[in-house]
Subunit: 160 residues, 2 copies
């Protein structure tokens, strides 16, 4: 009789816990889905990046407004090569933890909510921190020509 | 004896549920805090808006790059007046449900992840839906002059 009673109570505990655990799992699932505002897009397959990165083009420049907007996701450790933009660039950090460095300045850490204006023709690089991915919106004017790509960021520069 | 046993088991159930419920509450709290990427900023106090809206300026245009970026939050029902931008505007929807309409076109519903390019000098308005707030990033070139503000959006236009 006592064994039966204990079994019943174990069942009651399990039944009580089930919806709470389900709700928690759903909450976590929702969080994971909604954390990223824009789609991750296509994997970047050119030689100007070190490590895996993805881009989705949100707005493409045209003759009426040459500003382009892209959502870029870097896996931990991934970064661009050094490069510069003839019309400058604006970076909005929307998720994770990233790095940003302009030539001649110390490396900065970027977190969700940070905004950076990189002046025209100033070499810089950006990417994820070693342990966390980084998601950013890049806003780039095309009116003075294309991005100028430079050499890769060395391990020493990345970790300095 | 049976009463004591039942009380102990009730206590066990409560102790088992406690950390699960705490974790769920923390998850919900985290979600609420992280849903908004940029600060809500200051309440907009000019006559170009109908209803309450807030703006935080993320990037201000300067002589090297005249693109400005602002994060705008509209309470449910709030919207801009009709207006146009001499260099056009890009809108990125980051939260809630909003409306966007260009002159001569039907009103569009904007949701998180939508991106809109409004051509130069085309009158348009944007704002929240009646029942849900709307959060957007506005990317605006200032190189051809300031925003031209027009008349308010009528109730008929808003609800059409």
């Amino acid at each position: 009789m006592k064994t039966m009673q204990t079994s019943s109570l174990t069942l009651v505990i399990a039944l009580l816990l089930l919806p709470v655990l389900q709700a928690r799992a759903q909450q976590e699932q929702k969080w994971a889905e909604e954390d990223t505002i824009f789609p991750r897009g296509e994997k970047i397959e050119n030689d100007h990046f070190n490590g895996a990165a993805w881009v989705s083009f949100l707005i493409r420049g045209d003759s009426t407004n040459q500003t382009s907007v892209g959502n870029v996701t870097f896996e931990p450790g991934a970064r661009t090569n050094w490069h510069s933009h003839p019309a400058g660039q604006i970076i909005l950090a929307t998720g994770g933890v990233g790095y940003y460095q302009e030539k001649g300045s110390p490396r900065r850490v970027l977190r969700k909510g940070d905004a950076v204006k990189c002046p025209p023709n100033v070499p810089h690089w950006h990417g994820a921190s070693p342990d966390q991915a980084f998601v950013q919106i890049a806003i780039t004017g095309r009116e003075h020509g294309p991005t100028e790509w430079l050499r890769p960021v060395s391990e020493e520069e990345y970790h300095r």
